[in-house]
């Protein structure tokens, strides 16, 4: 039973354009969402997060949008750079748990020069 779903295994965009990575979830008890970035042979690194009481959080080129009614979140990268090429994982935590994360399968983003 996959509670966090990233339905696009891969995404390819041109440098300078917008990258939009999508994530859907099924558990209504999730109250905090995170995006992690992972390069080959490295562990995931935290990128950006959003609380369920917000609908948008921005950090430089990265913006996360949360649509609670649709149980959907997205990560926007503008402008995309070749160094952004990596696997992006959407993750969520349940209200009351400060440590256990539920991850999606990841989306491989390739930014072409």
């Amino acid at each position: 039973d996959q509670q966090v779903k990233q339905n696009s295994p891969s995404l390819s965009v041109q440098e300078g354009r917008i990258s939009i990575l999508n994530c859907d979830y099924t558990n209504s008890m999730f109250d905090y969402f995170l995006w992690y970035k992972k390069y080959p042979a490295e562990g995931p690194t935290f990128l950006i997060s959003i609380s369920s009481i917000k609908d948008k959080n921005e950090d430089g080129r990265f913006t996360v949008f949360l649509n609670k009614s649709a149980k959907h979140l997205s990560l926007h990268i503008v402008p995309s750079q070749p160094g952004d090429s990596a696997v992006y994982f959407c993750a969520a935590k349940v209200r009351g748990s400060n440590y256990k994360l539920t991850f999606g399968k990841g989306t491989l983003l390739t930014v072409n020069p």
Binding site: Q2, V4, Y32, L34, A41, E42, G43, P44, T45, F46, S49, F89, A91, K93, N98, Y99, K100, L101, T102, F103, G104, K105, G106
Partner: protein
Amino acid sequence: EAGVTQFPSHSVIEKGQTVTLRCDPISGHDNLYWYRRVMGKEIKFLLHFVKESKQDESGMPNNRFLAERTGGTYSTLKVQPAELEDSGVYFCASSPWTGESYGYTFGSGTRLTVV
């Protein structure tokens, strides 16, 4: 500051053998976590230590997996006997406090292949 160190980085073993993975967290981090990613699937939580105590091992697949954290420092994850479905990448992470999950620092992982 040294990061989370895991070794070996790769391990190939035969079905039925025993393998021990090691994780050295960031010095001073009381919280240590193990996660696993099976090929093409999501990263799944295995367990959580606070110092030397297991706080949550709800994600451990079965009793072939044994995790320990000696003296609240490094941790080992032993798989005995290994099965084919145990293949995957095992990640360790640590954090100074059980606070926001973005406080995690992940290691580079151990890629385990059971043949």
